[in-house]
């Protein structure tokens, strides 16, 4: 158990490092800007209509504090961090005066739900099919699947999302192509709302699954086809063990370990995909929030979403890493 705690501590340190570097990156990027974000943001807001002068002054001081433009660079750095740690990104400019944290809090469950469900489906399905394809190398169907996976895997999220949109939006309109749920529904655990959410999530989830499936499939197939030639597998086969048993407890089990690490490492990439998928399907998650914030010139919101997404993905990786030794007993708890 001591070894597990050492492992735990190491992962925790890594998590802190990731968040630290990520947030510093955000600080550096914002300070590298040649434009004055405060004046830009204020110009963006006041262009919609006249605002009272004292409201503008209040906004300016709040913005300067938020962007860490008050005091020396060291002071700015400290202010920036303290605000990030408190989750305080000030009021949103495009939805003034709603705080940025409230907007993100509203959007986060949508993205988290979409990502967790589609990632799980993709991972399980991809590894299962890939494992079968690596083991039963003569199967025609599985070979064909490999060819399809190779063709689909390298296509970027946007293109797949767009193709789905064309097929199910124009050619064969059976599924809702935009929004997170139907309008005028009571949000909560009631059947009309839940089923509407499920129906609206099919296309965004499908685009994420289609892209992700290929890489898990191909990865697992090559892992398994290497393991199949190992001595202990050959031994188990010649000993007359049921082939399903060999595949399940000898081959798949050992091939899964690197795939679990891969799952942790791919989370960041999946999140990237979710941003564009959400935007294409108008899904009310943080991706849509981020892109709309850029269009609206809402600086605090962009910064907030970036920071929260870095933290959220790091938490996901941490959780997977902590579960990892429980799945694979061979992992040395270094």
């Amino acid at each position: 158990m001591n070894a597990y705690f050492a492992y735990f501590a190491k992962r925790l340190v890594q998590f802190v490092v990731v968040v630290f570097i990520g947030v510093n990156l955000a600080f550096v990027i914002t300070h590298a800007s040649p434009i004055d974000p405060v004046e830009q943001s204020i110009a963006a807001v006041t262009s919609f209509g006249s605002t009272a002068p004292d409201a503008i002054a209040a906004m300016r001081s709040s913005l300067q504090e938020l962007y860490g433009l008050k005091g020396t660079l060291a002071e700015q750095y400290v202010t920036f961090w303290s605000r990030v740690l408190r989750g305080d990104f000030g009021p949103s400019l495009s939805a003034f005066p709603t705080p940025v944290s409230a907007l993100i809090g509203r959007a986060l469950p949508w993205t988290a739900g979409l990502l967790i469900v589609s990632t799980l489906i993709t991972w399980v399905l991809g590894n299962l099919l890939g494992g079968l394809a690596g083991y039963y190398q003569r199967s025609r169907t599985l070979k064909l699947m490999g060819v399809v996976a190779m063709g689909v895997h390298p296509i970027p999220y946007y293109i797949v999302a767009l193709l789905l949109l064309i097929v199910f939006g124009f050619l064969w309109p059976v599924l809702p192509i935009t929004g997170g749920s139907a309008m005028n529904l009571q949000q909560g655990w009631n059947w009309p709302f839940v089923s509407s959410v499920a129906r609206h999530s099919i296309l965004p989830a499908l685009s994420l699954i289609l892209i992700g499936l290929g890489s898990w499939f191909l990865g697992m197939r090559s892992l398994v086809s290497n393991i199949v030639t190992e001595d202990y597998v050959v031994y188990a086969e010649t000993a007359g063990l049921d082939s399903r048993r060999v595949l399940g407890s000898y081959v798949m089990r050992n091939a899964l370990a690197p795939q679990v690490t891969g799952l942790a490492m791919s989370l960041g990439g999946i999140f990237n995909g979710a941003v564009i998928t959400e935007k294409v399907f108008g899904y009310p998650g943080v991706g849509t929030l981020l892109v709309d914030a850029v269009y609206a010139g809402d600086y605090g919101l962009v910064l907030g979403v970036t920071t929260v997404s870095i933290i959220a993905v790091s938490v996901g990786v941490l959780v997977i890493d902590l579960l990892y030794p429980l799945i694979d007993p061979r992992v040395e708890l270094r």
């Binding site: 890594q14 960041g268 941003v275 850029v294």
Partner: protein
Amino acid sequence: MLAILRDLIRYNLEFRIGLFLVSIVVVMAALSVVSPYPAGDVYVVPPDLPPSTAHWLGTTSRGQDVFWQLTAAIRNTLFFGIMVAALSRVIALVVGLLAGYSGGWIDRVLMSINDTFIIIPLFPILILFYFVLRDSMSTPLLATIMACLGWAYDARLIRSVALSLKTREFTQTSIFSGMKTHEILAREHLPYVLPIVFSTTMNNMNWSIGIEVTLAVLGFTDINTPTIGGMIYWANQHTALVAGIWWWIAFPIALVVMTFVGLFLLAVSMNEYIDPRSRLARMGGSR
């Protein structure tokens, strides 16, 4: 080198298909040189014409010939991918070789930075970059940023090879003969990792082109330089799909998908070639 190429062409179907697809893409890009009008010009031909013998792939609502627009777009997109791949290869090589060879605290520090870059969601960060740089965001600048963000995974691969090279006898010999660290890395270890560098180049190009397309579609790049993503952006701006100008959006997508699949197949077949077990199996040896 030529022998490797011959082997790949002879024994590897994936490589043949990949080579074929990439060749078409490269020919398209090369044709941009003989384009009858500059790619940036608008309203040089009648707008909204469907594909015909006069305009093979139709014309856009901005009065551009889709075919000639596409040649310039794919050329810029390819250049972008090559730029990112070349720059990030340098970073990945330095970090990977150094971390694998040095070990100890250098390795630990470099790898924790490395892991950070693997995990961090890059897309929001790129959007943040665009947000603060907006007007000065040019293609070379974006390529540099992407290169600084996209080296991590490949550095890990290179490190894993460097780790095993470190324990080989010739490394010891070089150390005793008084070679400096950077000489050992550049002259002794570099040749061994070059095959990996080549195959990761293809994957890195795919990755960077994919993100460029995605950013451009949202309008988050320099959309006045024609790229594949830029073409789709302008098509969306003119609601080409709703207006039925499908050729404006279908042909760029078809070409970029060809690029992706072609580069990916080249990378896969090279990877397989590097692994002697699967190479033997492919050439008809037994499992």
